[in-house]
């Protein structure tokens, strides 16, 4: 998917302690709805959007991520989860909300391994200890000069998204860190 960005990662960067993989194609919708309409929206749609900023609901087919007081990112596996777009379109008859297809705007990386936290912390100023950033937590933040979205899916596993043109920069930073691990 990212041939155009000169990115063909998918290989382990360093000896198992840090793996950075490009996530295959996903469908993404940015969904915006006022907080006061959420309960009714959830009831009607059955989507079960998480209610607080930073919360997520995760299944293999779909991630629903609450990024702002009125903002959700829904990321789906296109072959497992079809029809969301159509469903949202239908819902727009009964609710005032916004959804925009941003499938191609972002790319996603899976960052995993015992060095995953350290690798992300080279450029991300958040405290990623499990107490402060438990599994399931999601937020937009920064990775040095790149705005990113970070979701913890496991103790040592993160799902990181950024705008596609930031991909080489983000992976470039990981590659430098991997080299540090190798050489030390």
């Amino acid at each position: 998917m990212l041939v155009d960005q000169g990115l063909e990662i998918g290989d382990t960067l360093s000896d198992g302690c840090l793996t950075v993989l490009l996530v295959s194609e996903r469908t993404r919708y940015s969904l915006r709805i006022k907080a006061e309409d959420l309960t009714a929206f959830n009831l009607e749609s059955g989507l079960g959007l998480p209610e607080r900023i930073g919360q997520s609901s995760l299944t293999e087919a779909r991630m629903q991520l609450c990024l702002g007081p009125d903002e959700w990112l829904i990321v789906t596996q296109p072959d497992l989860d079809k029809g969301l777009g159509a469903q949202l379109k239908r819902l727009s008859d009964s609710f005032i909300f916004s959804f925009t297809d941003i499938s191609h705007r972002n790319i996603a990386l899976t960052v995993q391994g015992s060095e995953a936290v350290a690798a992300i912390n080279i450029g991300c100023p958040l405290d990623l200890s499990p107490e402060h950033f438990p599994v399931g937590k999601v937020t937009r933040t920064v990775f040095e000069n790149a705005p990113i979205m970070l979701l913890r899916t496991g103790e040592d596993v993160f799902h990181l998204e950024c705008w596609r043109s930031y991909g080489p920069y983000v992976t470039g930073l990981f590659a430098r860190y991997a080299k540090d691990i190798e050489m030390s």
């Binding site: 998917m1 041939v3 155009d4 960005q5 000169g6 194609e25 940015s30 915006r32 006022k34 009125d70 005032i96 916004s98 959804f99 925009t100 297809d101 941003i102 499938s103 191609h104 705007r105 972002n106 350290a118 912390n121 080279i122 450029g123 991300c124 100023p125 958040l126 405290d127 990623l128 200890s129 402060h132 040095e144 000069n145 790149a146 705008w163 596609r164 043109s165 930031y166 080489p168 920069y169 470039g172 930073l173 430098r176 860190y177 080299k179 540090d180 050489m183 030390s184």
Partner: protein
Amino acid sequence: MTTDQPNPYRLSDSGTRQISFTFDGKTYQGREGDTLASALLANGVHLMGRSFKYHRPRGVLGSGSEEPNALVSFDRGAGRVTPNVRATTLELYDGLVANSQNRWPSLKRDVGAFNNTFSMFFPAGFYNKTFMWPRSFWDKVYEPFIRSMAGLGLAPTKPDPDVYASTYGHCDTLIVGAGPAGLAAALAASKTDNRVILVDENPALGGSLLSSEKASIDGASITDWLAQTEQALRQAKNVTILTRTTAIGYYHDNFIALAERLTDHLADAEIGQSRERLHRIRSDKVILAQGAIERPLVFHGNDLPGIMLASAAQTFLNRYGTAVGYEVAVFTSHDSAYGAAFDLHDAGVHVPVIIEARTDIDADLRDSAAARGIEIVLAAAVSNCFGKWRINALELYTPINGKTRRIKCDALLMCGGWTPSLHLWSHSKSSIKWDDKIDAFVPGKANENASCVGACNGDFGLQTALEAGGRVAGGEATYTVSEVPFGRGETFRSLPNYKDVSKQKAFVDFQNDATEKDISLAVREGFSSIEHVKRYTTIGMATDQGKTSNLNAMQIASVAVKKSVQEVGLTTFRPPYTPTTFGALAGYRSGDLFEVERKTSIDSWAAENDAVFEPVSIWRRARYFPNGSEDMHAAVARECKATRTSLGIFDASTLGKIEIVGPDAAKFMNLMYTNPWAKLAVGRCRYGLMLREDGYIYDDGVVGRMAEDRFHVTTTTGGAPRVFRHMEDYLQSEFPELDVWLTSTTEQWAVIALNGPNARKLIAPFIDGIDLSPDAFPHMAVREGKIFGIETRLFRVSFSGELGFEVNVPAHYGRAVWEALFEAGAEYGIVPYGTEAMHVLRAEKGFIIVGQDTDGTVTPQDAGMSWAVSKKKKDFVGKRSLMRSDIVANGRRQLVGLLTVDPNVVLEEGAQIVADPDQPIPMDMIGHVTSSYWSETLGRSIAMAVVKGGFDLEGKTIFVPMPGTTHSAKVCNPVFYDPDGERLNVG
């Protein structure tokens, strides 16, 4: 006494490997674990450098990062030379190469030392008083001379091949300093569930413990206790230990910067291995256990090599097994120096005398000295020192009887008391207060969640430090300690000497050669603030930032200005604690990682097709596509011609895009843009003009209405982030009642612009679901459908004046669609064009580029775009400002076209315009050229300009004075080509 054969001053063989190193071209032997300073001292070498101003010979003063004198150039190959490295912290490795500095041609024969001979003419601040006449000499003689004398070490000459690292970290407790207080704090904290980071600038944990052999803790020797402690801490999962790491600065909200040195101590530091790492740590609580620094005594001749702090000699002895001499005298006003004297004596060094400035000392000390046969002279001072490259004798002076006595020695230790290290504490804006008991400042009120413990809190002694450390970290630690009592001292603001003060050279700041006299002179000349004294004398401004000098200076100044030390105060502590490598502060962010370079999904095709690129904000864009050896001019002419006559293809993906969705979308658009939006039909586009609230043009772009409640907005490439912010700001702060949401979609879409009479023909076969006929799909319309089976938003718009389409496809398909179109376009001679041709094509049509033809001071009226400003709307951002008196006044600069009288002259962009070319300088400039190109289409040059009252000048001639020539040009309408827009329908 046995000594190491190659190291005549090595008293105990530490058992480590013998290694060799080179200093000033001469090879010496040292031992693993040495610093350069300890190794040189073990070889009997004291002369290590020259001072800054007078080029006086200098040896070590201290034994750590406080060192002002022994600065060397550390050389590990091309581009890897570090100037001004303290020999006392430079860890020795096999093959290390270092050189002395600030001397020419050699350390012993230094031409610059004539400054010392004439030092009486160069007191502090001398440069203010001279070098003024003759006036012409300043630029040509004096200033170049002063500049040539600058600097200590040599400047680097080659790029540094090393790389650096950077990271963020978090903890509950950050402990700075791994001396007894820091270690005890870490031990206590390790037993909690806190995350602890313990940092120390030294390679080993222990701090002052490494220099105090004789003590014991809980029955264990210092060595054993340290080993146990380190093991316990390393086993604790919640403790991270960072050695060779300096806490350099304390910033807002407990944010601490640490610089970790990773490879300087390695004999084989590979290039590619990070040399240093910047840690940016946020800690809930900070414990500062940075210890204290011993103060020198200020007496005549106190800077000769061989004269050093007593604690330094003790450290060289106990930690490195090195004697700083075999005939070591001591001059002190504090008990702590006695421990150093006794350690040296007990190791076999002869201590001929302890010169005590005080009139009395404790009986214990007297007895201990007597037991060792060391003479103590009370109420005495050193009045002179002898020796050229190293002290060989001192002159003892007893003011009570006025007698002097010459005593041979090969080193002299001094101790004037101790200064708690308050640097980081003060960075945090926590207060300090004067403590009369120790004659030093100690911590006052904390401004952050931070504490000082141990010596840096003014609490001296091993047991005190250990227990304070334990307590501050929440433990109730008690320690059983056997130690030499730290004792107490007295501060002498001036030491007795029979010489007139003007004949003395008593150094306060060693590196900068600032003396007691300089402070007196500063005060005499009216520099009464301590900050003035610092700036006038340069005390505290050397590379050690006054670690050993500031307190002495302040006390001397307090006498001179007749104020208390509290009133005089201290100069501000400024980060970093010790000099910090630029590369470390840059961290990973160099080369490719210095800045993001954004590329579109079509960029790789452009690269493969020999595009020449230009940076536009942080995007890389194709500027033109030369054929073979074509230059830019030829390429652009060809690209323009092909577009006008047949078909050009252009990557417009970098344009910012924002999806504006919600029932109030049109209302919101009405507020953000000058144009009216309510009546724009679904499927139609409009050029949008955005102002700042001050009425000046901020951005522009084509907007398509995709649905009643959905707009597809485009922005300029560089403007996308600020337009998004501008919109969010107004939406959230001023118009929160609107039901509308913004989503950035810049990178969702790849945008392929097709321009030229054959544009429709090209796409027609590949489009599904869109009627492309001119009636069904007029200019300024947008449709959704498919191209090559891929979903597209197809805009019929034109930035060239030709029939134009912008194919938006999801970014992933950008290159594939581009390639397919390019291939199919072969039949029309399709030509890819870059930003340069795009600029020419739009200029031929008089379309503005925001940021080029406007500059943040141009209103829509000025730009001739009143047509884009709704007269009916009650409100939009910037509306009121357009009515301001100076905005509606006559004589504003207005955007016009220019046609040079000589059609072959292409004006320079930025060239200034005058009405009268014959006027003298300064000329009255009435405008400037904003855009200027050769138009292949028109066979002549064209230009756009902003000109004072320009709209009224149409047909008039203006002038552009250039060096050596003046161009004349006629003012015209800026639409140079196809003013009626007929080309939009050709094809």
